[in-house]
């Protein structure tokens, strides 16, 4: 945290939005093809995942695209997109119905649904369909001294908690892992305000060599030569900083998902490796 980091936080809107705890869902017959074409069936997406949390391993689970904690969504398409465009990582979530009514959680990222962390004793009480409102805060956030760095979907309190340094007018962000641009896959087809982008974990030997297989859910990530301003594309000398939000996948072109939080030119934005750069530590999330 830099004590004099100037932002426009006081001009941001705090706005409520509601979503509902989702039910796991499969397309008939439920199988997906793995990297070798074998049909497999795995849980992980949607629903309330009780035993995998932010801070846990992104690899190794008998699951696919594991979404830690509670995944919420709305069946109304326009509300679904509003959830994706307004909710920021680090936002406060409040359970509005059911046995856990009144309980407080925290947004840990965004996949095809928004992911909310609650402590175990609260998770036990959450039922599919329960309404969870989020007090969105962060859309429009800017770094006033770095007008060319774009900030995406983080609560101002997460921005303040990041390990940051300014060296020769360049913002240096601590991240746990650097990903090479050539392994960035599914998600390149979407605008960069929506959902995430998967790293492609199919080359298992490379994952091991670069220690990407030690990645944790919630890790801060840097990608060199990635421009995530209006989409997710290769552009030399651009840098994108992201958060690992969901677990590994067996499908070609897929793998753990990363959600962009900062993007800009190399002359303004860089990174330093620090294994502690995980939102579980930064936001002091209680498991």
């Amino acid at each position: 945290m830099i004590s004099n980091l100037k932002t426009n936080e006081k001009n941001l809107i705090k706005m409520s939005i509601g979503g509902f705890a989702t039910q796991p869902s499969f397309k008939n017959p439920g199988y997906i093809p793995n990297n070798d074409g074998q049909a497999v069936i795995y849980p992980g997406m949607f629903g309330v995942v009780n035993n995998i949390k932010v801070g846990d391993n992104a690899f190794g689970w008998a699951g696919d695209h594991v979404e830690p904690g509670v995944s919420i969504d709305s069946e109304n398409p326009n509300e679904h997109f509003a959830l994706h465009y307004l909710v920021c990582t680090g936002n406060k979530a409040i359970v509005r119905s059911g046995e856990a009514k009144g309980a407080i959680g925290i947004v840990t990222g965004e996949h095809a649904r928004n992911l909310i962390h609650f402590e175990n004793k609260i998770l036990d009480k959450i039922c599919i369909g329960d309404q969870i409102d989020i007090i969105t805060h962060g859309r429009g956030l800017k770094l006033l001294d770095f007008p060319n760095i774009e900030i995406k979907k983080i609560d101002p309190k997460l921005l303040k908690s990041l390990f940051l340094k300014i060296v020769k007018k360049k913002l240096i962000v601590d991240v746990a892992i650097e990903l090479p641009i050539r392994i960035m896959g599914s998600g390149a087809e979407l605008n960069s305000e929506y959902v995430d982008q998967d790293l492609m974990s199919g080359d298992r030997a490379l994952m091991k060599k670069l220690k990407i297989d030690q990645m944790k859910l919630g890790d801060l990530i840097a990608i060199n030569h990635a421009d995530h301003r209006w989409g997710r594309s290769y552009k030399k000398d651009y840098v994108s900083i992201a958060i690992c939000i969901h677990g590994d996948s067996v499908m070609s072109g897929h793998g753990p998902g990363i959600m962009t939080i900062m993007t800009g030119k190399k002359k303004d934005l860089s990174w330093k490796i620090n294994k502690k750069a995980n939102i579980k530590n930064l936001l002091k999330i209680k498991i």
């Binding site: 426009n8 001009n11 509601g18 800017k142 605008n191």
Partner: protein
């Protein structure tokens, strides 16, 4: 001369709405809107519970596109929502009927229209965090049909007697003298022109910064009462020399061309029978019992 109205003949009808959700268009539509220079932006816009913007706050400077202060409500069916939108009047009392904030009382502060069709309600900030999306809010609507004796050409709309009686309006030389914070020239009126004046909003234009300065519009606040020159909102909103309208600033400025702060029109006449009296205190927070 004392102002007389037909207040005792007005019908007091309950209308209901639910706290509404923010909405965005789905893929393949881009989430961005364009600002007046053609630059894409993505910011919160109308609807929902806004926790940190209230009537009395500045209408400018927010990272938002025409945000509604406080809480916005809507009725699920189109006809029912039209009922809510037309009958609710600025100044009417609103009561939360269920959920954690049940029985909390607020007041209607504005309307939004054409695309969002919502009613904007002020509740104090400490109540807002207890309000949930979809909570039901009841408005005991009163005001549609309001007439001012000896001023039959003046159309009142979305105007409750609760607020009309507090606006410090005086009669001088057979004209109404109406306290307002600002006078808006007709060439700075934008989105809303040509649409119905019974619900929804008419927006001030703010892209020409020199004109903004000239008419001292930069210090507009949410809840300010303003006078629009040469604008007739008797039925629909449109240009007419000598006509005038009174509006309340209902929502904030936005980056799009034609979409500055929105006005909910409360009075309008085709003739020269109402004149503005500049007074910086002409804001709803000074007229009603108000807690931030």
């Amino acid at each position: 001369m004392k102002i007389e109205t037909n207040e005792n003949l007005l019908v007091n009808v309950s209308v209901m709405g639910s706290v509404c959700q923010p909405n965005f268009q789905g893929l393949p539509a881009e989430p961005y809107r364009l600002d007046s220079d053609g630059i894409p932006f993505l910011l919160p816009t109308w609807g929902s519970i806004v926790h940190n913007v209230s009537v009395g706050d500045s209408a400018f400077g927010w990272e938002a596109d025409c945000i509604h202060p406080g809480v916005s409500i809507k009725y699920p069916s189109e006809g029912g929502n039209r009922g809510l939108n037309i009958l609710s009047c600025v100044g009417n009392e609103a009561i939360i009927m269920n959920g954690e904030a049940k029985n909390s009382v607020g007041f209607v502060s504005g309307k939004s229209g054409r695309f969002s069709e919502q009613i904007i309600i002020h509740f104090e900030k400490k109540v807002r965090e207890r309000i949930s999306i979809n909570d039901k809010i009841l408005i005991k609507s009163l005001g549609v049909g309001l007439k001012i004796k000896n001023f039959e050409n003046i159309f009142c709309k979305s105007l409750s007697p609760q607020i009309f009686n507090k606006m410090n309006i005086k009669i001088k030389n057979k004209k109404l003298n109406i306290p307002v914070t600002h006078i808006i020239p007709e060439h700075l009126v934008g989105a809303g022109s040509g649409l119905t004046s019974e619900s929804g909003s008419l927006h001030i234009q703010t892209t020409d910064l020199n004109e903004m300065k000239k008419y001292k519009l930069n210090n507009l606040r949410l809840g300010d009462f303003v006078y629009v020159e040469n604008y007739d909102s008797s039925y629909q909103h449109g240009f007419l020399r000598k006509a005038w309208s009174i509006g309340i600033v209902g929502q904030t400025n936005g980056p799009r061309a034609g979409y500055g702060p929105g006005l909910t029109i409360l009075m309008s006449s085709k003739t020269n029978d109402g004149i503005p009296k500049l007074n910086s205190n002409a804001n709803i927070v000074n007229y009603l019992k108000f807690k931030k």
